[in-house]
């Protein structure tokens, strides 16, 4: 559980170890564990099918991993300042955090938004906010993750309009809207519309961006949040793959060929817990994904077979108690990420069990990754753990476990069905409960929580990011100003056109772009979609 379940004898010696994914770890691994090993079949060189060792031949010798800390809060101006601060400290890609009203398609002055504007991310109401947030950012050099899902289509249209407005080439900018609604429904909670139209919106963004913004990664399929919600590492990959396949199958139905879009799909995967289980997980995932694309989808272009990912985090491993310990944990997670061949790395900051990070905490996360990059030899060779008896045996076993979990989902009718009926949610909740029980019964050790505890309360010693309620006031004023000064007739017209397109099930993106450019608000555009699509009803799981 978590790290693993240990059975010890009276002398305290470990007798049995079972990883959370259900694999037993032996005391020693040797050549007999790799009796059936075939280098070309099982590994290939990095950059060669099945890409177990890495998707590129040179990996970090050629290019370091991108460092992309999640950031954003308050007004777009405050967020723009934080972006510039992080870039100045070595961050090489952006990952924008939006507040909950924005994520849920609500304007900052909506009654439901009260108390939440700018709290967990940046408030966005109109294109004006994007223009401010990305001012003076070299968008052709720095790619932007947009951690947005239910209204990802709207944010992508805003990003396009912003980049165009600043004179950047659409061929060169790179947005990565997270845009993974199924994981919202099982592990993150920021959904709006029902499953089917949500998948259609994702299809629209995939189809549109392939033509208009080819460097966009229109979807970042997230195992991360499902693992954070409690599932096992093997389930994390299984569910992520089943989600990805649901989106792929939908786009294929539109008549696109797999090689027209599959290479732009990316993944966001979690790291905490057992080092070797994690590394094996990622290597198995890369191999499995490649096989899936080649054998099931008959992809011809090797790029379609690459599992490109952000491997990082993982908030689930960090603790409220003795928060400085989280700096150490995050360093280990960064190491795992590098050993696993990630493309992008990001870490939760040490204060994140409390609230969103202070600038100092964010810099420590950056320094953690920079020290790993510059001082520890992680750039020197590709897949340094390749060939280890343990790691190769574990990679094989993780592949089996992942495949087992995938089969379970397929047997009950696929991921969309599993989500609509609550199967995944029930399983994730059950695993979370088992883990919490194990923690409370001290079957799993967590330093500072149930072992090596401190008696004094340390909460007071952590300097925390303070929510600034005047930011909400400023944002609402700004919103009112936009509503006053824009061409409201044009807004009404574009929203009508948008509704028509949505009803006819045509690609909404060009029409969203028009609404966005007319300074329609997030709330207004979302209301159109709600009218047409309805709202997701959470299945009851108890």
């Amino acid at each position: 559980m978590g790290v693993a379940t240990y059975i010890k004898n009276e002398k305290g010696e470990i007798e049995e170890v079972t990883l959370q994914s259900g694999i037993e770890v032996k005391a020693i691994y040797g050549p007999e564990d790799l009796a059936d090993f075939d280098y070309q079949r099982d590994l290939g060189d990095p950059g060669e099918y099945p890409f177990t060792r890495g998707i590129h031949p040179g990996m970090y010798r050629a290019r370091p991993w991108t460092m992309r800390q999640y950031s954003g809060f308050g007004t777009p101006l405050e967020t723009n300042e934080r972006f510039k601060f992080l870039i100045a400290h070595g961050q090489t890609g952006l990952n924008v955090a939006f507040d909950l009203p924005t994520q849920l398609g609500l304007d900052s002055d909506d009654s439901l938004a009260e108390g939440e504007v700018g709290r967990v991310g940046m408030a966005v109401d109109t294109l004006r906010d994007f223009e401010i947030a990305f001012a003076d950012i070299p968008l052709e050099r720095i790619g932007s993750g947009l951690t947005i899902n239910a209204v990802a289509s709207i944010m992508l249209a805003m990003y396009q309009a912003t980049a165009e407005g600043y004179g950047f080439s659409l061929e060169r900018i790179s947005a990565t809207p997270q845009n993974d609604i199924l994981k919202e429904m099982v592990g993150r909670g920021n959904w709006i519309f029902p499953v089917e139209p949500s998948i259609r919106l994702i299809g629209d963004t995939i189809e549109y961006s392939a033509k208009v913004m080819p460097r966009t990664n229109p979807v970042s399929v997230c195992g991360y949040h499902i693992r954070e919600s409690g599932c096992t590492p093997a389930q994390e990959i299984a569910y992520a793959f089943e989600i990805a396949m649901t989106y792929i199958d939908h786009v294929l139905q539109r008549g696109l060929h797999i090689d027209e879009f599959a290479s732009r799909i990316s993944f966001n995967l979690d790291i905490f817990g057992n080092i070797f289980e994690q590394v094996a997980k990622f290597r198995a995932a890369r191999r499995l994904w490649a096989r899936l694309l080649k054998e099931k989808y008959e992809a011809k272009n090797p790029r379609s077979m690459w599992l490109r990912g952000l491997f990082g985090g993982g908030g689930g491993g960090l603790t409220k108690q003795q928060p400085l310990n989280n700096i150490v944990r995050s360093a280990y997670y960064a190491l795992i990420s590098a050993l696993s061949g990630t493309q992008t790395m990001a870490l939760c900051s040490y204060d994140e069990a409390y609230t969103i990070p202070t600038p100092q905490a964010a810099v420590i996360s950056l320094r953690t990754m920079e020290i790993l990059l510059e001082e520890m030899g992680l750039r020197d060779t590709v897949d340094p753990l390749g060939g280890s008896y343990y790691v190769e045996a574990l990679t094989n076993q993780m592949e089996e476990k992942i495949t087992e979990e995938m089969r379970r989902v397929e047997e009950i009718g696929g991921m969309a069905h599993a989500v609509e009926t609550g199967y995944i949610q029930r399983e994730v909740a059950r695993q979370a409960y088992l883990y919490e029980k194990a923690l409370q019964e001290e079957k799993v050790h967590k330093v500072g929580v149930n072992i090596y505890r401190e008696e004094e309360e340390e909460e007071e010693e952590v300097t925390l990011h303070e929510y600034n309620p005047t930011a909400a006031e400023a944002q609402i004023e700004s919103l009112k100003e936009v509503r006053r000064t824009r061409d409201n007739r044009k807004v009404v017209q574009t929203l009508k056109d948008l509704e028509g397109t949505a009803r006819r099930k045509e690609n909404v993106m060009p029409f969203l772009l028009e609404s966005v450019k007319a300074y329609a608000t997030v709330g207004e555009m979302t209301r159109v979609f709600k009218e047409v699509y309805g709202e997701f009803k959470e299945p009851s799981i108890f």
Binding site: L106, L112, E116, R119, Q321, A432, F542
Partner: protein, 131 residues
Amino acid sequence: MKDRRIRVLVAKPGLDGHDRGAKVVAQALRDAGMEVIYTGLHQTIDQIISAAIQENVDVIGLSILSGAHIPLCEKLMSRLKDENLSDILVVVGGVIPKKDVRKLKDMGIKGIFPGGTPFAESIRFMREKVH
């Protein structure tokens, strides 16, 4: 006779989508013999009050991780007073900084059980305070 099962409404008010803790607590309370109703996400305070009335609960347990606990709790406690339901035991869990505990208690929230609270503690508290 007081051997009716304790009825608990586990509620997710506001926009916060983190429900791992709420679902874990719901399972623990159920295993402890309580009747648990889980509201699901994105509940308004009014929806929570309606559910509490409809389900005739003894306890309302709010789970809040976004930091918006003060405004949300203020609203709930005020509405409970309006509806004459101040005898319902209200407890809060999630991400609750120590510095806010006093303020919440002053509002009438009897139990604060942030993430990591042992099940036994919250269960014992409810058994003592209900009925």
